[in-house]
Amino acid sequence: MTEPFADKWPRESQFPIVERYHSAIRALVAERSAASGKAWEEVVHDPAFEFTREDFEKVEADLLATGYRFEVSAIVSIKEDPDKYKPLAATVESGEVHHDDQGRQIVGTGDNVFSTDDVTGVARFISTVERVMEMLVEGVPEQTIAVIDDSGGTLTAPILADFAGVICLGGTVRAHLGILSREHHVPCLMAAQIDGLKEGDEILVEYSKRAADAYADAQSAAEQRARILKVS
C-alpha cells in the first residue's frame, strides 16, 4: 500500500498560490495511490492512474470559489477571462508634489540604460495592443516619450524605433526592452517609478545621467537615478 511520500525537511512555498495548488495535488495523489492498493512503482506511469485536465480544472475552480482572483501579467489573459483576474492597477498619484531647484515638478525617476542628451517630449502611455496598433497604422506622434508598463521586447517591437524616449515602469537595464532601446539608440529609463505623471504631459527626462550600474548597491543606485520633470 502506498503511503504519502515523507519529507524530513519540508517548508511552505514562498507564494500562497503555489502552496495551495501543490498541497491540493499532493493530497489527491496520496488519496488515489492509497485507494489503488498498489505499490507506487506500479501506478506512477500507469495511464489509468493519471490525473486528467478535469482534476486540474477543479484545483483552479476550488480556489476561485473562495473569491480569490489572480494577478495579471499579459493583456490577453484578463481580456479573455476578466472574471478570473484582479483589475489592472491605476497609475500612481500619491498627492505629494516635489520640485527641482528650477521649480519643475518631479514626476518620476528611473535607471538610465545609456547616457545621451536629455530629451523633452510628450508622455504617452502605452500598455495595450490597441494603442500599439493605432500608432503602427497612424504613425507614432512626434516627440513621443513612451511610458510602458512592460519590460518585454515584443509589445512595442514594431514602433520602438520611432519613440523619442522610453520610460519603462518595470524590469532592469538588462531587460529585453533595455537591450532593444540601446540597440536602437532610443533613450530609455528602466524600473521607473512615477507619481503624478499623466497622458499628454510635456516632460524633460534626464537621459544624460550616467548609465545605471547593474552591480551598484542600493544607495548608489538610488543616487544615480535619472529624474522625469514636468515642464508644462
Binding site: V18, S73, H176
Partner: protein
C-alpha cells in the same frame, strides 16, 4: 532491484544536474525577470518544462541513434545553428524543471524515470563537451564566463575576412541599424525569449577582442508563425564576427550573452563580417562580403525586410488567443533541441511543435499568477518544499538550503525501488496553424523530407579530419597547420 548503472555514471549524472542548477540560478538571478504584456511568459515557460519532461527522452534517443550527441556537437561547433551554448546548456535545466514541478506536486518521486533521466543528462553532457571542445569545459561558467568555441583555424579566417569600419561610415551605420532591427525581430519571432541570439568568444585579435554573434531562425523555418511573413528572407541563420577596440568582454555567459568593460559601445566596433550556415552547410559561407559597400547595401536591405516582417508578424500575434500565445512560447522553449534532429536527419515537425497530451492537461492551472510564482520559486527563490535540504546545507551562491534540482538517490544502485521511463511520446496538439511553407536552408527552400534526406547524406569535407582541428595538434605541426582544412 538494483539499477544497471555504475556508481560513477550516477555520480556523473548528479554532478551535471547540480552544475546545471547552479548555472541556471546564477543566470536567472543576475539577468532579469522575463515579462511581457503581450505573451504570458511564465505560464509558457513552465508548460515547456513539462513538455520536455514527457517528450525529450524518446526524441533524444531517436537523435542519438541516428547521430551521436558528440558528433552533433562537433558539427555544430563549426556553424551557426540552434545547437549552441544557450540551447544545449538548457538541456538539464528545462528537462529537470519538469521533473521538479512533478516532484513538488507529489506526482513523481526522485527514483522515478531513472533511465530517462540518466539518458537525457548523459546526452546533454556529451553534446556540450563536444560543442565546447576547443575550450575544454562543459559550460562557459566553468571557464570563468568565457566561450572560445572556435579553434585558431576558424578564428583566423574570421579575423582575416572582417571588413574594417569607422563610426559614421556607411557599413558602421548600416551594421548598427541592422543589429537593432534583427534584435527586435528575434525577440518577437521567439515570442519574447532571446533564443534567437547566441554569442561566443571573446577571441583576441590584433585589432581588439572579437566575439561571434549567431542570429538564428530568421527566415521561414520550423516556426509555423513565420510562414509567409518571413518568406522574403533569404538566409535562416546569420553569423556576425565583430571586432571591438578598447573593449574587454569580461562575461560571455551560459546563455550566450555578454558584458563588456567599458560597457558595450558601438563606436568601438572596428571590423565586422557576415556569414550564413546551418546543418547542411560545410562551415560558414560569406554573405556579400566582397566589399564594405556591398555589405552595407545588403544589411540595409535585410533591415528593410526584417522591419516589414516584424510589423506583419506582430499584427498576426496581436490577434492570437491566450492559448496560442502559450503554445507558441512553450514550443519555442521546448523546441530548443530541435536542430539536433535537423543535424541527425530525423526532424519531424510534429515531434517538436505539438504539446503532448500529458502536458496539455496541466493548462488549467496556468493562470498568469501561478505561472509567475512557480517559475520564481523554482529558479529564483529555490523555495519549493521538494528543493529543500537539511539545515546544514548551504547552496553554492545563495547559502540557502534549497537546491534547484533534486539529485537521484544513490540507493537505486542497491535495493531501492525505481521506475524506468515516462514511456513513449503520446499524441500532441497545438492551437497554432499548421506549418505549410518550406524550410529555408543553405541548400535552398526544402520540404521536411528533403531536409532530412540531405542531412543524412551530408558529410562535411573536413569531417574525417575533424580531430586534427585541434590547437594542440596544430601547435606541434606548424608546417602543416592548415592541412586538415585543405584535404
Amino acid at each position: 532491484m538494483p539499477s544497471r548503472y555504475s556508481y560513477s555514471q550516477l555520480l556523473d549524472a548528479n554532478v551535471l544536474a547540480r552544475k546545471g542548477g547552479d548555472s541556471f540560478y546564477w543566470q536567472c538571478t543576475t539577468r532579469t525577470v522575463q515579462e511581457s504584456k503581450l505573451f504570458p511568459v511564465n505560464p509558457y515557460i513552465a508548460m515547456s518544462y513539462l513538455n520536455a519532461w514527457y517528450r525529450w527522452p524518446e526524441l533524444l534517443r531517436k537523435i542519438d541513434a541516428a547521430m551521436p550527441a558528440e558528433e552533433i556537437g562537433d558539427r555544430a561547433r563549426n556553424v551557426g545553428s540552434y545547437v549552441n551554448t544557450i540551447t544545449m546548456g538548457l538541456i538539464p535545466n528545462f528537462y529537470l524543471g519538469g521533473r521538479q514541478m512533478l516532484l513538488d506536486m507529489g506526482m513523481l518521486r526522485p527514483t522515478d524515470a531513472l533511465d530517462d533521466i540518466m539518458f537525457v543528462l548523459d546526452f546533454g553532457r556529451r553534446v556540450n563537451m563536444a560543442y565546447h571542445r576547443s575550450h575544454a569545459h562543459v559550460f562557459p561558467s566553468d571557464s570563468n564566463q568565457r566561450a572560445q568555441v572556435h579553434t585558431e583555424r576558424q578564428t583566423q579566417t574570421f579575423e582575416a575576412d572582417a571588413l574594417g569600419v569607422k563610426p559614421g561610415d556607411r557599413l558602421h551605420t548600416a551594421f548598427g541599424h541592422f543589429m537593432a532591427t534583427v534584435s527586435a525581430y528575434g525577440f518577437l519571432s521567439h515570442c519574447e525569449c532571446r533564443l534567437s541570439f547566441n554569442n561566443h568568444g571573446p577571441y583576441r585579435t590584433s585589432a581588439g577582442e572579437m566575439i561571434v554573434r549567431d542570429l538564428i531562425d530568421l527566415a521561414e523555418c520550423d516556426y509555423p508563425w513565420m510562414d509567409g511573413v518571413a518568406g522574403a528572407l533569404e538566409h535562416n541563420n546569420l553569423t556576425v564576427p565583430m571586432i571591438m577596440k578598447d573593449t574587454h568582454f569580461h562575461i560571455m555567459d551560459d546563455w550566450g550573452s555578454f558584458e563588456a568593460t567599458p560597457s558595450y559601445d558601438a563606436s568601438n566596433i572596428v571590423a565586422v563580417g557576415l556569414y550564413t550556415s546551418d546543418y547542411l552547410s560545410d562551415g560558414y559561407i560569406p554573405v556579400h562580403m566582397d566589399s564594405a559597400s556591398e555589405l552595407a547595401d545588403y544589411l540595409d536591405h535585410l533591415r528593410d525586410q526584417m522591419s516589414e516582417a516584424t510589423t506583419e508578424m506582430w499584427k498576426g500575434m496581436a490577434g492570437w488567443t491566450r492559448e496560442q500565445m502559450i503554445d507558441s512560447g512553450l514550443l519555442v522553449y521546448y523546441g530548443v533541441l530541435k536542430d539536433l534532429a535537423h543535424f541527425a536527419g530525423v526532424y519531424e515537425q510534429d515531434d517538436w511543435f505539438m504539446v503532448d497530451e500529458r502536458a496539455q492537461r496541466f493548462k488549467p492551472l496556468f493562470n498568469d499568477e501561478y505561472g509567475g510564482a512557480l517559475i520564481a520559486e523554482i529558479v529564483g527563490y529555490v523555495s519549493l518544499t521538494s528543493q529543500q535540504l537539511s539545515e546544514y546545507h548551504m547552496a553554492k551562491f545563495s547559502d540557502a538550503r534549497g537546491e534547484m534540482w533534486t539529485p537521484i538517490p544513490y540507493s537505486v544502485l542497491v535495493d531501492d525501488e525505481w521506475t524506468s521511463t515516462v514511456g513513449p511520446i503520446r499524441p500532441g496538439t497545438s492551437s497554432l496553424p499548421a506549418k505549410t511553407a518550406p524550410y529555408t536552408t543553405t541548400r535552398g527552400k526544402l520540404s521536411m523530407d528533403e531536409c532530412n534526406k540531405l542531412a543524412r547524406e551530408f558529410r562535411p569535407a573536413g569531417w574525417d579530419l575533424r580531430h586534427y582541428d585541434d590547437d594542440t595538434w596544430v601547435k606541434n605541426h606548424p608546417s602543416q597547420a592548415d592541412l586538415p582544412a585543405k584535404r
